[in-house]
């Protein structure tokens, strides 16, 4: 499915995290010996409880934090160089943004172009075109002269997605892209991410929204202070792995036997939820089949998406 990131080509989307340990100045070790590899044309979910090291991992990929041990390379380059070339784009959580800041939608998207500009950061025709295309792609052209605080939750998300597009990042990190977003926008964002995957980009999505992961993520990295499991969604996003990652932190419902069937069918329904859309498992064993939270029809769609 995904080209192995080993020996990754420079400039082609990939992430290689090898034996990474990250320690904060306070002495707390947030992540120990984490390893995973991702290649081009991938949407990967990063799953774990709060405090499991998800944001630490993001910060390490963004060059905020330097690993105490191990190495991180992005698109075949050390993190610093990958950032310099504008290969890494970041879509922040809504809470991280100062929505009262005096900038318009198009100003924010233009911030993605800084790496392409000269010393004085004066926009050229190419920059203006990139901004326009990015805004058109997320359907936000008509809002381009709005101050960002005047937008709805979903529109705000799309502005920052547009910024990542305008930047032309090959690796896009999305931090909780679905919180505070309505279902329509969520579908739109997922649709866009699928397009970007077709273009060979790599997206790493930190999310609590377990139920939607099988819908659009082809890879999953499950972490709790280290990488517990990493691989294709079909084989990695299983009940056993989630149990290990979340322990008692998940809400967990199981329906089986007489509660579910009138006949001798021994299959049962398992509903697992972190805090958002529940993950629904249906089968003889919990790990037998992973289905999205909506319908089984969708589950087969995702299976198709995952095909090479």
């Amino acid at each position: 499915m995904n080209a192995a990131a080993a020996g990754a080509q420079e400039g082609v989307a990939s992430i290689a995290v090898d034996g990474v340990t990250v320690r904060y100045a306070s002495g707390v070790t947030a992540v120990t010996d984490a390893s995973f590899r991702l290649g081009a044309g991938t949407i990967c979910a990063l799953v774990g409880i709060n405090g499991s090291g998800k944001s630490t991992l993001f910060k390490t990929l963004m060059g905020f934090l330097k690993p105490a041990r191990g190495s991180v390379s992005i698109a075949g380059l050390p993190v610093g160089q990958a950032l310099k070339r504008g290969l890494v784009a970041y879509v922040p959580q809504a809470e991280e943004v100062d929505w009262t800041f005096p900038v318009l939608v198009e100003d924010v998207v233009m911030m993605g172009r800084y790496g392409h500009m000269g010393f004085l950061r004066i926009a050229r025709q190419a920059d203006r075109e990139a901004v326009e295309q990015a805004l058109a792609r997320v359907n936000m052209l008509e809002f381009r002269t709005r101050q960002i605080g005047e937008l709805s939750g979903g529109q705000r998300k799309r502005v920052f997605l547009a910024r990542a597009l305008a930047q032309g990042g090959q690796v896009i990190l999305l931090d909780e892209p679905f919180t505070g977003v309505d279902v329509k926008t969520e579908d739109a964002i997922v649709g866009l991410m699928r397009e970007l995957r077709e273009e060979g980009r790599l997206m790493l999505v930190s999310t609590h929204n377990l139920g939607s992961i099988p819908d659009f993520c082809d890879q999953v990295v499950i972490i709790n202070k280290t990488v517990l499991a990493a691989g294709p969604t079909a084989t990695t996003f299983t009940h056993d792995n989630l149990q290990r990652a979340f322990g008692g932190a998940l809400r967990h419902f199981r329906l089986g036997g007489a509660d579910l069937h009138d006949d001798e069918d021994d299959r049962r329904v398992t509903v697992i939820t972190d805090d958002e859309r529940p993950l629904v498992l249906y089968g003889k064993r919990d790990s037998e089949r992973v289905a999205g939270g909506k319908t089984t029809g969708e589950a087969s769609d995702t299976a198709k998406d995952r095909a090479p």
Partner: protein, 286 residues
Amino acid sequence: MIELLLEPFGYQYMVRAIWVSALVGGVCAFLSCFLMLKGWSLMGDALAHAIVPGVALAYLLKVPYAAGAFFSGMLAALAMALVRVRTQLREDAVIGIVFTTFFAVGLLIVSINPTSVDVQSIVLGNILGISDEDVVQVAIIAAVSLLVLVARWRDLMLVFFDENQARAVGLSPTRLKILFFVLLSACTVAALQTVGAVLVIAMVITPGATAYLLCDRFGRLICIAVALGVVTSAAGAYASYFLDGSTGGLIVVFQTILFLLAFVFAPKHGRLAAARAARDMAETAP
């Protein structure tokens, strides 16, 4: 009448006071656009007070006052960092302790040597009596700061808005923040001459705050703030000729008047506009 209005321009010291004030007011206003967005306003105030002992000592030892100001500003910053690291105190408490201490030491130095240093010119500013050497210092500081700001404002804006994105496009937020504080310190030192230590804070807050009520774009915010800073500072210096009042006091009063006007009448973010919007909402609601 016109002769009377033009009278101040007949005096060299008045002309000089007007253009130096305008220059300093403009640069401080530029900085205010950044400062007021980050919740760092108190820091500007602390800085202005912390440089007082340095300035007093510099006059006493007959060295350039900017050097003394810079030295004691650095010392204050170090002291704040030290107290913050070594105690559990909140940041505002740390700033409050350090800057009042420095200010007190400054006043003490001045009061012990009343002949060589004039307390009033440090605390309240004395642009009308500014010496030639000081004019050169102020002009160089302000002009260099202005140039740096014009060249780097877009990068600073990105760092202030979104540090992660700044990193993602290859900027160094730490380096740019240090640059900002160096500029802020320099301009505080320059503004000391025009409005004095007590009122510097107004110069690096009010124009930006006023402009914030008038527009939604950073570039425009800077233009409006700088224009307000230049006009109010020049007008303050000019008016002080007639009113025989403190230049600093007049500049800040003018800035406050404009802020109040914007607060009430700003087309989009003013109180009247808000009231109008609320009324429209009530009318259209069923």
